[in-house]
């Protein structure tokens, strides 16, 4: 599965480029409207083209991400997949309870994290050693909170609550709680 870092990198490039372009366009526009010039009337055709462009852009973003971000179809159809490993995790009183001290995962295994809250709404996130996020989900009491993930990068990962649950929530961190074993042949 494509690493979420790669997706974030792509997003950073795309959004930064867009920001620079729109700032320059607005600066150009602000300069031009203070000057006299020909063609003051904007043709309706330009307007309809712009609306059409936005429509295509808005819809195609989701089609592209569905087809390029591998966890999206897995997430939406996770009932169709059989996990290689399942971890049942409980959260209560601002504390994670794991099935083992360390969750050991074979590289490229499809893992199901099934997290249950016994009281409040929490979050469940897995983070790399440099604090960047691998993935997260909400943990809502009274409902099943499960996520499938394929780890293809060996390493040590931290579990952290990603939802505010009062001041006590900031301590909901399990450092080095997940270990992904080296991939075969690496």
């Amino acid at each position: 599965m494509v690493d979420s870092n790669l997706v974030l990198w792509g997003q950073t490039i795309a959004y930064t480029f867009y920001c620079l372009v729109i700032i320059l366009v607005m600066a150009w526009f602000a300069y031009k409207i203070t000057k006299t010039g020909k063609g003051n009337k904007v043709k309706p055709a330009l307007f309809y083209t712009f609306v059409g462009f936005l429509t295509v852009l808005g819809v195609s973003l989701h089609i592209i991400t569905y087809n390029t971000i591998p966890w999206t179809p897995v997430d939406l159809n996770r009932g169709d997949y059989t996990p290689d490993k399942t971890f049942e995790i409980t959260v209560a009183n601002h504390e994670f309870f794991l099935p083992a001290e360390k969750l050991v995962i074979d590289c490229n295994d499809l893992v199901l994290f099934d997290v249950t809250s016994n009281d409040l709404t929490y979050g469940f996130g897995v983070f790399r050693e440099d604090n960047s996020m691998v993935f997260q989900m909400q943990v809502v009491p009274g409902h099943r909170n499960d996520i499938l993930w394929q780890f293809d990068n060996p390493g040590i990962y931290t579990i952290r609550s990603t939802e505010y649950s009062g001041p006590r929530g900031i301590f909901m961190i399990l450092k080095d709680a997940v270990e992904v074993l080296p991939c075969e042949g690496s």
Partner: protein, 540 residues
């Protein structure tokens, strides 16, 4: 004029509070209240920016989260609502060319808004009540971390504020439809239909000869349609407040309602539906309406494609009722169909409706070239840029795939929320303040154009800069609504704090400029009763 003289009497002594009508005074009171609460929000924001770098000795962690809870509420309800109420209580009768329905109701709206915000702010400050701005503490409420009494007063403050909001809503709709004394009977139903968009909708399916004219000007239609969302969210927030209050009162009386918990996911859906009517409803509609008004006032020309603009306002209203699910893309129990349809697809319509408003305003401005770069124009362009940056950021996070790695990170609250609110919304409101200033003050003069320029550049750079650095931290994994005790993201947070300080300086410069424009005497005069008994907006 000497500094002392200007400070007391205002720039060139032009502002005379005695010349103000009742409505002008109410509008200016709303503006003063809005700016004071904005100062609260900016100072709170700055404290939190510093706290994100390193703890502050006199602020405990509990206090920090209480500030985090009060900050957006004071910003949105205390500041933005006050400025919007003031502006629209003036603009609705001004554009409809009739007196405001009730001066008394407007005054009560101001009193309730001010006292409601102060009450919840004080309750939070004293008791450290911090279930965060959504009030969405999945029921049953957690009383092990928070004082039940603090929560009770906090919710009471919200309820008082919502009653004030209802008074504003009644006043707006009554002003549109009522018949002033001595006037020919007004077609109330037709006016109401035109305001909320029913006439326009019917026209789309009517033959050319049966099409009805729009009785209500376009900005008033925007005010009315945004107010429809305000009615709905006020009802939801009030109901939710009462619901939480039931849990709190039960706890005070010694009963524990924990076992009768309301389904947490259902509650989240319910609350986000209501709350999103502000963020993705009335804010966007009011902003689009204000852009249209500003564009026509600045250029003196008709709005480009105004029928489309009117239809888009109705579309935006319908869209705002159906987009809430983008807040629940990381809730695994939320049905996938809701995530894709409401969370992704309908939300993408906001790119279209806001993009369309953006284009219409630019085309209207373009048609009037050459324009003088006045304060209203430059702040309008800043507001347009703010939304041009923030809306696509929102569309990106409203994606099932990307939300998995963006939800609850600083990305959400930086490039999306703060850029939308501080750059998009606030700069639009500043544009309205600058353009209405001479009208509602009967010709007072701005003290310093240089200070207005500093206000503009510091606010624009500070707002975009803060959003950008928070966004970079978010993309690197930094969560919102938490603290990093080992300073993991300090580089970004220091840069965000420097940007935030520009926002604070911008506000102080603006506030000083306004006080020097109307003088201390003028500020006090705004709060004394009007000597003019007329119900008219402006002195005859």
């Amino acid at each position: 004029m000497s500094f002392k003289n200007t400070f007391i009497n205002g720039a060139e002594g032009l502002f005379k509070s005695d010349s103000l009508t009742q409505i002008q005074k109410i509008v200016l009171r709303f503006v003063v209240v809005g700016l004071v609460f904005y100062a609260f929000a900016v100072i709170e924001g700055m404290l939190m920016r510093i706290y994100a770098v390193d703890s502050i000795p006199f602020i405990s962690t509990d206090q920090y989260f209480a500030i985090l809870t009060a900050h957006p509420l004071v910003g949105i309800f205390g500041s933005t609502y006050a400025l919007v109420f003031g502006a629209f209580l003036f603009l609705t009768p001004y554009l409809m060319k009739k007196p405001l329905y009730s001066v008394k109701l407007a005054n009560w709206a101001l009193i309730l808004l001010t006292s409601g915000v102060l009450l919840f702010w004080i309750a939070g400050f004293i008791s450290h009540y911090a279930p965060l701005y959504t009030l969405y503490w999945p029921l049953p409420a957690d009383f092990s971390q928070f004082s039940v009494w603090g929560g009770t007063f906090f919710i009471l403050g919200i309820a008082i504020l919502m009653v004030g909001t209802l008074f504003f809503i009644i006043n707006i709709f009554k002003t549109i439809v009522y018949t002033p004394e001595g006037w020919e009977k007004q077609p109330a139903a037709a006016l109401f239909g035109s305001a909320i968009g029913y006439t326009g909708l019917k026209n789309m399916f009517a033959k050319k000869e049966n099409k009805k004219e729009h009785l209500v000007p376009l900005p008033v239609a925007a005010i009315a349609r945004g107010t429809v969302d305000m009615v709905l969210n006020t009802g939801i927030i009030l109901f939710t407040g009462v619901l939480i209050l039931v849990f709190m009162l039960a706890s005070i009386l010694g009963f524990d309602l924990k076992e009768t918990a309301i389904d947490a996911l259902l509650y989240k859906n319910w609350f986000w539906w209501g709350l999103d009517l502000i963020a993705d409803g009335l804010v966007l509609i009011f902003v689009a309406g204000t852009w249209y008004l500003l564009a026509t006032m600045i250029t003196g020309k008709k709005l480009f494609m105004q029928n489309i603009a009117r239809a888009a306002l109705l579309l935006e209203l319908v869209v705002s009722w159906t987009v809430w699910s983008h807040h629940l893309l990381s809730d695994q129990a939320q049905p996938a169909i809701l995530k894709v349809l409401s969370g992704e697809m309908v939300t993408a319509f906001e790119l279209i409706t806001q993009g369309l408003a953006f284009f219409i305003v630019l085309a209207t401005l373009w048609s009037a070239r050459p324009l003088k770069m006045t304060n209203p124009l430059k702040f309008l362009l800043g507001g347009l840029l703010g939304f041009a940056l923030a809306v696509p950021a929102g569309i990106m996070q409203a994606d099932v795939g990307l939300n998995r790695i963006l939800h609850n990170t600083q990305w959400i609250v930086g490039p999306h929320v703060h850029v939308a609110v501080l750059v998009g919304l606030t700069m639009t409101l500043y544009a309205a303040v600058y353009i209405l200033f001479p009208i509602v003050t009967n010709g007072a003069k701005l003290y310093s154009q240089k200070l207005a320029n500093i206000h503009f550049w510091f606010h624009l750079i500070g707002g975009i800069g803060m959003g950008a650095f928070m966004g970079m931290a978010g993309l690197n994994g930094m969560l919102r609504r938490t603290l990093y005790l080992d300073g993991e993201f300090n580089t970004y947070m220091i840069l965000a704090a420097i940007s935030g300080s520009l926002l604070l300086i911008a506000f102080l410069v603006f506030f000083y400029n306004i006080v020097m424009s109307i003088g201390l005497k003028g500020v006090i005069g705004i709060f004394t009763p009007s000597k003019l008994s007329t119900k008219e907006l402006l002195p005859e």
